[in-house]
Subunit: 232 residues, 2 copies
């Protein structure tokens, strides 16, 4: 066996990156699509800016609080399932021992091969419970403070993303001129965002850039068409 | 040991429920907040309905495609990591054997206790790879067709949620009257949604109902305040 340890090089996107992606993907797309869609129906940039900022406020808060609740709910779910697993290990240890064996039988191991593990876990109830949480139920222990960090990251990314397509409507006098600049700015931002996201998540960056730009364009195109249809 | 099998009663929210929750939580909140926010600045219901429908189109498509991409990206990540694990099992089996042992050492097992497992997995490379995917990397094999199902579920839930707060603006002649009905309808919808969500996800339903209504109200209140500030 070699003396140098084998360092695991698998890439796992961190939860912060995931939250930035969640917030920015929607932040770049929805306010852009809303502003583009309203440009089809309204010429006054003032109303479009108002609608856009209201949407950014609503979207960032709703998504941020949604992320907060999701993380809280994961933490509660984990705590609740852990309590139940703890009770089962204490009250019905035989069934739980069979469950440990079952986990391994999925991987082609025989009962006699898994027996030493089952016996060893039985002597250490805390480790046994942790083992069941991860390997039987597939639940990971949530990071403390995850909920509040997640909320701030998602809301911040949504706001940062949303201000990019809206900025031309704030600066330029007519909606139609602002739309052209907004389309260009947002496409560039979506391409950069998609590229960087690809680098972080292990997808090919060029492909990720094009896919992300496509999603934004399709969402905006549909919103534009609907607003035109209704608003005339 | 009892003759009747112990049936695992742990609740895990299905992925469909999760997608409905993701779509509906934002669908009920963002279009509501946008319409309420615009009511602070605009009296014409026509523009608010246009903005609201454009937002629902943009939001449902952006979130639906976002869900599609997330599921696709999970599936690709899984496939890529599996390839790497397969290669490592073939090329550096000793390091991988040590990694199996390390997984168990976290749970207080000794090397000699884990040895039978390591030896048994070594004889079955396919099972060994699957074992490493789940237990070392914590990755679950994604369901096929997950991406398209996820996209449709999220987009549908967002649209269904978004039409509730917008409907009074479509039916009633003045924005201020529509706002009152929209607030009432949306609060009721948020309470019902929160209650049902609590039942499905294992949170106490009453608490979940109140929390969900609170999130919607805070997001809408912020959007309303911002739109008032800008739109005058």
């Amino acid at each position: 066996m070699p003396q140098t340890p084998h360092i695991e090089r698998h890439f796992t996107a961190s939860e912060v990156v995931r939250d930035i992606v969640i917030g920015m993907a929607d932040g770049l797309t929805v306010p852009f699509a809303l502003a583009a869609g309203l440009t089809g129906a309204i010429q006054a940039t003032g109303i479009i800016v108002t609608a856009g900022l209201a949407e950014i406020a609503a979207g960032s808060i709703a998504m941020g609080l949604g992320g907060y609740m999701a993380a809280k709910s994961d933490a509660e779910h984990y705590a609740k399932e852990r309590e139940r697993e703890k009770k089962e290990v204490a009250e019905i240890p035989h069934e739980e021992m069979l469950e440990v064996a079952e986990v391994f039988q999925q991987y082609g191991l025989t009962e006699s091969e898994t027996w030493p593990i089952v016996q060893a876990l039985k002597r250490q109830p805390k480790n046994w419970i942790d083992f069941m949480m991860r390997f039987e139920l597939g639940l990971e222990k949530p990071e403390p403070q995850r909920a509040i960090k997640s909320a701030i990251t998602i809301a911040g990314a949504y706001t940062a993303g949303g201000l990019i397509p809206l900025s031309p409507y704030i600066v330029l006098p007519t909606a139609s001129a602002a739309l052209l600049v907004s389309v260009a700015l947002t496409l560039i931002a979506l391409l950069i965002f998609g590229f960087v996201k690809g680098r972080f998540t292990g997808t090919r960056p060029i492909r990720s850039a094009l896919q992300t730009a496509l999603i934004g364009s399709v969402a905006a195109g549909a919103a534009f068409a609907i607003a035109r249809l209704i608003g005339g």
